[in-house]
Symmetry: C2
Subunit: 125 residues, 2 copies
Amino acid sequence: MRTSKGTAPYSYDGLDRVIHEKARLGMLASLSAHPKGLAFADLKQLCGLTDGNLSRHLQVLQEAGLVVVQKGYKANRPHTTCRLTANGRRRFLNYLAVLEQVVRDAARTGEEDTGTAIPMKPKPA
Amino acid sequence: MRTSKGTAPYSYDGLDRVIHEKARLGMLASLSAHPKGLAFADLKQLCGLTDGNLSRHLQVLQEAGLVVVQKGYKANRPHTTCRLTANGRRRFLNYLAVLEQVVRDAARTGEEDTGTAIPMKPKPA
């Protein structure tokens, strides 16, 4: 049994629950790929969320200081833009490092046992 | 804006909620690395969970057909062993493929905008 990473190597304490929630994870990945920010309507479409769900999760991310939401006007119509804060980007990158650890841990399949190992498929080049 | 992956490329529908829950993710990663199964006490320690939490999450994974729990005796004492089912291993691998996609998507930072790109740290060799 593996103990090199401490007594609870699979507790993944770094998987911040604010970020780990599935819809919010998609929103953060989306905003991370668009550093200039995204309009509410575009973010909604990219993440496949309803207005209500997107608003609710944006509020959680805003309260946690991960995202800023700016309400303004564009062509005389209300226009809401969302973007990651510097702190949000930093916390998201930390979270991603833990995700990468989960993937690496899972790829160890069978290394620690003599049971049947199912190899992971190789990553595309 | 990226549209090559359909209209909602960041919806991550493949992030199965049964598996995505943080404690269960740790349990599945742990069981995945130990194909012969793990004793209840070892799984509990590896994942840093209490008896109650582990039992509750094991029940969810059992009901979803991802894990089997075998109650027996070892040295005349009750001994519970948990292991992944073939279906559980398959679903976990599918889930991991989506996690890898999240990491790849996030690494695109700045490719689609002309905003400030923060490079991802390289994976260890």
